[in-house]
Structures are given as C-alpha cells and as structure tokens.
C-alpha cells in the first residue's frame, strides 16, 4: 500500500472507513480536492479546520449530499461513492448529526426520536436513551422547535443512537452551547467510545475532544494538510493553534 494512512490501518483493529481522493462539488464550485483519511473500529477521530475548510462538506460528500463527488469511500468493505443517499446509511451503519442539528419543527420530540429507521441490531432502546438524556423524556411531547438548543443537540444525537448505527458523523455538536452542556457532551462521547462506537467529530476547537480522540486530521481548502495522533497532541499544540487561528 502506497498511502501512509493505509499502513496504520493494519496495525490494530479493523478498518471501518477509508476515504481516498474524495472530491466534491457544489454546482460549479470544487470544494473538496482529494480528502484522505481512515478509521478503525472503535476509534474517535476529529476533522479540524477553520470555517469554510470543507469539514462539513466531507461528511456530506460521504453521504451523497453534494451535487457531484468522485474518489472512493469504503465503509465496512462496501464502496459507497456511487450509491444513492438513502442506501448509504443502511450499508455503512452510518448515523449523521448535521451541523444545523436538523430537528424537524413539524414533529414532536418523540417523533423526531423515532424518525430514523433501524439500520441494524444493537441500537439503544428508547428507555436507555431517556436514561442517557433525562431532559428529553421531560419534553418529549413538545414540538422540535420548542426545546432549548442543548436539548435539540441531545435529540439530534439520541435519534441516531436508536438506529443501531455504529459509525457516527457528528458535525460541530458543541457549537453555540453553554460550557456545562459541552462538558456533558464530552462525557457522552467518552461513554459512546466505551460502548464501541466509531466516531468522527467535526470541530473547530480540538480541546473538546482532546482527551478522547485517537487522531486529529487538519483540513484546509478541501484537503487534509496534517495528521496528529492523540498521544502527540501536547507536542503539537503550537502547530494546531497555527492551523486553527483566524
């Protein structure tokens, strides 16, 4: 294997996701210019970068939510780059939490929670979810727009945990939330990691996931420009800050 990323894949665990030379376009504008990265089962990885770097587009391109894309995205051995969007979640056991949270205003909290179809076995039961997010149970009959931002974020994550998804794509889940809630979310990610979920966190701020992430990929102008191992984070602080400063 020529790619450096592929060598690490064989080190431990089982390659769950490999993205190669991913290009994506919105209309005429070419947004991703060959993204490469890998995940093994059970890993937590961040995609870091400044606003407009192409992190959200990377997730959307994996899901087929861009106008055009090329390259290769393999999940659990399936090539999904040419598949229609609605088949990707099923084949890849993917759970997507979009940056804008995607809570449906015309649905109640409970309907939002029950909306995503079951993808595979081993999803959390509704009781388990309400145990993990007690707030949601209290507001379950309200419509999706009449709950707080923190509750919306919890709901957006909770509803993909119900489906049996094993690979979670979480886009800026801490954005605009109070520090207490960010802390809760941090604990939750740790909990999910412990339960064996594989997670991609799109973040602007690496501190949120610094103790949990196995690896950080830095994205700039639609390319992965650096890769930092979680254990190496202390030594790479300066480098990272340079990438992310505005």
């Amino acid at each position: 294997m020529a790619e450096p990323a592929a060598t690490t894949t064989s080190e431990a665990g089982e390659a769950l996701l490999s993205v190669r030379d991913l290009n994506a376009y919105y209309g005429e504008s070419h947004v991703l210019h060959g993204i490469d990265f890998d995940l093994r089962k059970g890993e937590v990885v961040t995609l870091l970068g400044r606003n407009g770097a192409g992190r959200t587009t990377t997730l959307r391109a994996m899901l087929g939510l861009v106008d055009r894309r090329s390259g290769s995205v393999k999940v659990r051995g399936h090539e999904i780059i040419d598949l229609p969007t609605h088949r990707i979640a099923h084949l890849g056991l993917l759970g997507y939490c979009p940056e804008e949270r995607g809570i449906f205003a015309s649905l109640s909290v409970e309907e939002n929670l029950m909306l995503p179809p079951t993808l595979g076995e081993g999803g959390m039961s509704v009781e388990e979810i309400y145990r993990m997010f007690p707030n949601l149970e209290e507001v379950r009959h309200r419509t999706g727009m009449r709950i707080s931002g923190g509750e919306q974020q919890m709901l957006a994550i909770a509803r993909i945990l119900r489906t049996g998804a094993r690979l979670l794509l979480l886009d800026e889940i801490t954005e605009g939330l109070a520090p207490v809630i960010v802390k809760t979310l941090g604990r939750m990610i740790g909990d999910l990691k412990q339960r064996g979920f594989t997670i991609i966190l799109v973040e602007q701020n690496f501190r949120f996931a610094s103790r949990l992430a196995d690896r950080h990929y830095v994205i700039e102008h639609g390319k992965v420009v650096d890769r930092i191992d979680g254990t190496d984070l202390e030594n790479s602080m300066e480098r990272l800050n340079r990438y992310l400063s505005v």
Partner: protein, 301 residues
C-alpha cells in the same frame, strides 16, 4: 318543526353531500401540494377517470374482453378504480413530474394541466359529453332514509359517511402515525431524511399515487349521484381550487374542514339567496385572500 327549519336542514344535507366531495378532492390536492409542491391541475381529470373506471368496469369491460356477462359492480369498483387511478398517477410522477422538481413549480402545474386536457379530450372522444348514468348503484344502498326533517337517499348518506371516514383516516395517518411523521419530515428536510436511510423519491411517488387515488375514489363515489361525464372533473375542480385556497395550500385539516364547511355554506346560500349559491365560494375566497393570504389553516409567512 317549521318549514324554514326543514328547508335549512335539507339544504344543509345536500350541501354536506357536495362538501364531502370538495373535502376529498381538496384533501388529495393538499397531500400532493404538501409533499411535492406541485399544484395538481390534473386532479379533476383523475376524479373523472375514477368515475369512468367504475362505469367501464360495470358496462364496457365485459363486452370488450368477450365476456358479455361480466359486470363488475360498485363494490369492486370502489377498490379497483382508486388503485387504477393511483397507479396512473404514479406513472405520471415517475415518467414526467419527477424531472420537473428542480425547476419552478409552475412547470409541474403546466404539465398536469396538459394531462388534464389530454384525458378530457380522450374521454370526450369516446363517451357522451352530456354524461352517462352509472347503472350499477348497489341494491343495498337504493331507496331512502327518513331523517325526520327530510327523506334522504340512502346512497348519498353512505357517500357522506364513507367520505368523512376516509378523510379522517387520512388525517390520522398523516398527523398521528409514524408513517405520517416520516412524510412530514420528508417535506421539511428531504435531504436529511434520505441521509437517515429513507427512500424519499419512492415516498414521493407513493404520496402522489395516494393523492390521485383519493381523486379516483371520489370519482367512484360520485358516479351513482352525478352522471359520468368527461367534463365532470373540469366543473368541480374550479370550486375545489377555491376550497384549497380558503383552507390553506397544503394544510390537511384545512382542506377537510374548508371542504365540508363550504359545501354547507353553499347549501345555506341556496336557502337564503339562491342566485348567489354558485358564486358564494369564490366570494369567500377573495375575502380570505385579502385577510389571510395563506388560507385559514395555512402557515402565514
């Protein structure tokens, strides 16, 4: 009971009878508009098609296929015609409408308008424009019921009750079940619903099939009451569009309520000022448009 009261109740029943057809047709339009953002101008023609399928099943199909004794009556038609019309609708969506979603909604409107004209022309060519009576009204629904204030045809009473049940079930499925939640979510954010693993294009096809199937069902129900004519759809659909505007484009509850209420109001107008009976709905439409442009039940924005 005095004469006036009897007259009001009697016209009320007849108005309700028209109202359930308005409700069923505007409900189908609302479902389609809500999900596809298409104003289905072919809706009246599909209603007509439903009535003709019922007529053909009872009078023409047997001779056509060489089985003169074959007459499929009202009850089989009540099931077969909506399915035929719904499948025809899905064919339209799959082969034509689908390609127009990325353009201005006006193109979907023009396409369905064209389809309506083609269907009407086709049936006018082969059937009597003045109308053919539907011969297969079921035996069990012949005769009248004594309502106290009037005698009312049994069949019409059946049509009213049946349509109200269909409308209620449709509302229930859309507003109160998981399937309905998926549909509503698909309207709000189709991309995300797809990303969750739901086949939204197929859902859209089925929704269009359901909405057009409702038109077909209304057509079968109408066949024993009004005569089956190539222009029956064109006549009623203008009123139905006014009903939809009053109820609020895309609002399920608005379509049902406005349909029933306007049927009643039309009936009442016959009592109090008969010359205005045919125009009262349009008059109300103008007032509603001026005061609440998104309709009585529509989201104002």
């Amino acid at each position: 009971m005095d004469v006036m009261m009897r007259l009001i109740l009697a016209q009320g029943m007849l108005g309700l009878n028209n109202g359930v057809f308005y409700a069923m047709l505007s409900l189908g339009l609302a479902v389609i508009f809500g999900m596809l953002n298409v104003v289905n101008f072919a809706h009246g023609a599909l209603y007509m098609l439903g009535a003709f399928v019922a007529l053909i099943l009872s009078s023409y199909l047997g001779p056509w296929i060489g089985l003169d004794a074959l007459h499929l009556g009202f009850w089989p038609a009540l099931i077969i015609a909506p399915i035929v019309v719904g499948c025809f609708g899905m064919l339209i969506e799959r082969t034509m409408l689908r390609w127009l979603y990325k353009f201005d909604p006006i193109y979907g409107l023009l396409l369905t308008f064209g389809i309506a004209l083609v269907l009407q022309g086709l049936f006018s060519n082969y059937f009597n424009s003045a109308g053919t009576p539907y011969p297969a009204q079921p035996e069990s629904l012949r005769g009248v019921v004594h309502l106290g204030f009037m005698v009312f045809p049994k069949y019409r009473l059946f049509a009213i009750l049946f349509s109200i049940v269909v409308c209620f079930l449709t509302w229930f499925v859309i507003e109160r079940t998981r399937l309905g939640a998926t549909l509503r979510a698909g309207v709000e954010n189709p991309e995300l619903v797809q990303a969750f693993g739901i086949n939204v294009p197929r859902m859209i096809t089925l929704t269009f099939g359901f909405g057009t199937g409702l038109a077909g069902l209304a057509g079968v129900l109408a066949a024993p009451i009004y005569s089956v004519s190539p222009l029956m759809g064109a006549n009623i659909i203008i009123v139905v569009f006014a009903v939809v505007v009053i109820g609020g484009m895309g609002s399920i509850l608005g379509a049902i309520t406005a349909g029933l209420a306007l049927g009643l109001i039309e009936g009442m107008t016959k009592v109090f000022y008969a010359p205005a009976a045919n125009t009262v709905i349009f008059f109300l439409m103008v007032i509603v448009l001026l005061i609440r442009p998104a309709g009585l039940f529509g989201r104002q924005n």
